[in-house]
Structure formats: C-alpha cells, structure tokens
Symmetry: C2
Subunit: 189 residues, 2 copies
DNA sequence: GTCTATACCTTGATAGAC
DNA sequence: GTCTATCAAGGTATAGAC
C-alpha cells in the first residue's frame, strides 16, 4: 500500500473514530463516514474488509492515544500521586464532550456488549491499559499489587459512573463532584 | 379495549421489556418480540403506534416496578439507614444479570442518549425516582437537602460505574468491591 | 488503486382481508 | 379486533468499470 493509500486509511479511521464516539458504532453508517471524510463509500472496503474491521482500527488508534497520554503523564510529572491527580481531573477538561457524548471507552463498551462479544473484548484491552497503569502508580506509592488493583478498580468504577450519569442528565455536576471526591481520595493515599 | 386485549398488551410489554434489556432497544426488532411473545408482528401496531411508543410503555412498567420496590423497602425496614443498606446490596443479588446485560437503567440510558433525545428524558425520570428516594432517606437521617442530593448522586454514580465495569469485564468482582465500599460508607453516615 | 452501481437483506410501518 | 402480506427505506457488502 502506497503513501497516498496510507493517508487515506488514516483519514477514514479519523472520521470513523469521531462518528463512532458521537453517534455510536451501530448508528454510524458508511454513508455517514463517506460524508464526513469526503470519500466515496464504496472505497472503504478496499482498506477494511468489514465494518468490524474498521472499528478494530479505530480501537487500535484509541489505545495508542491513551498509551501516549499516559506516557506524557509519566514524563511531565515526577510523583505517581501527581500523575494520578492529573488523570483524575482529565474529565473536567473534557466535560463538554463527556456530557454530550459520554466516555469514549464506556459508551462504546456498553454498546458492543449487547451485540458483538468479539469486539467487546477489544474494549477490555483499552480499560486494562488504564487500569494497569493506575495500579502501577499505586504500587510505586507503596501499595501491594492486590491493593493497587482494587484501588485502580475503584477509581475506574467511579469515573465511569460519573461519565455515564453526566451523560444521562446532560449535566457536568456529576463529573465535578466525583472528580473532587476522587482527588481528595488520591491526595489522602 | 377488552379484557383479552389488555392481557395481550401486557404480554407484549413483558416480552419487549426483557428483550430491550438483554439485547438493547435498537438491536431488538419486532420480529424478535413476535418470536418471544408468540404473537404475530403485524399485531403490535394495533396496541402501539410505533416502536418508540412500545418503549415508553416498557419504561412506564419499569418505573412502576422501581417505585413499588422502594415502597417495599419503606414498609419492611424501620430506619432509613437500613433501607439504604438493603438498596446498596441489591446488585449483589442480581449480579448475574448485571454482569451479563448491565444495569437496566444505565445501559438503556447509554443507548438512547446516542439516538433519540426524547426517549432519553424518560430514562432521567427513572433515575430521578431513585435519586430522590435516596435523598429522602438521607434527609430523614439528618442531612440537609443539598447534602442529601450530593450524597444521593455519589451513591448512584458509584453503583452505575460498578454495573458498567462488571458488564464490560463480565466479572462480578467490580460489583462486590463497590457494594462493600458503599455499605461501609452508608453505615458510617 | 479508485470509484460507481447495485445486489441483497432486515427494518419499521402500512393496507386490507377476515 | 386479529392477522397476513407487503411496502419503502436504509443498511452492509460485492461486482466490476476505469
């Protein structure tokens, strides 16, 4: 596949990523992606054998974004506590999107679980990246591996709940309260 | 509408309720409901003018179930703390369904938010019933109205997060840990 | 490699017989 | 009131021209 082909592939994934987030995977048709990307819809099947395959590419992209984000935390902040605090307040910065479209990981996971189990396992991958990174920070802070996992689960659970409720009510107050609570918890660890 | 007609209506709502929970609203077709209820699909439009209308009937049913459940808590347990503890441990009893299909309220809310805003407001109704009941118990325990609302939001947020994560991972540990944590919080109030 | 045209299926909804 | 047959629309996916 040539240079131009790769660029087009990226273009498709980019448009699909956005639409899968804002409309959901099932509600997004190839016609939608064609309109958003400016590419004719028959072309997609040259790059992706199926819609599921396209979603897989989108998930690859999201995992990579998440990993580089976490890496930037490690680079920019010296202590694990500081890193976790920055992570916890991320939903504040993104509250508009979360309130309107939900958490990119949580809402997709919720949707895929109902229809396609194979794809659901891919979303677990994404959550695992985040969970294990959080647990790693906690271990670095002196928690045992088991305790780190439990605390990481607690943090993920709370943030996902906040995103879902803020999305349901269309009100960021659910995020604000939860983030404040979470930051206090982390600071006290 | 006669007696038999009403019975059939209930039968349709019952089958739809189950399928909307286990497969999702969008993924459930009239053909599915026909197969599950044993009724021919062309018949549905005599009872419901549209699929949305059927969902509304399902939501009415769920709200009523929820309200009678909460009423039974009031009847069976003397103190608000006891009632909240019983509510908090409900997901434990239902962990198998939640792990497989998610929370009936949360997963539906997540799905509807992406497609139909009018129906999304109906799910808020359901959450409000629960939220305001929890807040009422907390007020009875001496919390101020504002604090009661904030605590009720916190409880709802946490339980929804636990349901979503248990569903995503297909693992009830997310529920067990969260319920234990929640019960400790309530007991300490 | 790129794009058009279209096949084929499933969906929600309707028309009309009984 | 109840049910069968069918419609129009929109979906994914494919065939094949260029």
């Amino acid at each position: 596949m040539g240079q131009k082909g790769e660029a087009k592939r990226v273009q498709i994934v980019k448009a699909a990523n956005d639409l899968f987030y804002k409309q959901g995977f099932g509600a997004t048709s190839f016609a939608d992606i064609a309109k958003a990307s400016g590419l004719p819809k028959g072309n997609f099947y040259f790059y992706f054998p199926s819609k599921d395959s396209l979603l897989n590419a989108v998930l690859d992209d999201r995992v990579q974004s998440l990993q580089s984000k976490l890496q930037s935390f490690e680079h920019n902040y010296a202590t694990p506590r500081e890193r976790l605090l920055r992570l916890a307040e991320m939903p504040i910065k993104d509250f508009e999107n979360i309130t309107r479209y939900g958490c990119p990981m949580g809402s997709l996971s919720s949707e895929l679980g109902k229809c396609c189990e194979e794809l659901e396992t891919r979303t677990i991958e994404m959550f695992d990246v985040l969970k294990n990174w959080i647990a790693g920070q906690l271990t670095e802070m002196g928690q045992s591996p088991a305790a780190s996992q439990a605390t990481a689960r607690h943090i993920l659970t709370t943030m996902q709940g906040a995103a879902l409720m803020a999305y349901t009510y269309g009100d960021p107050v659910w995020i604000e309260d939860t983030v404040a609570h979470m930051k206090a918890t982390i600071a006290a660890l």
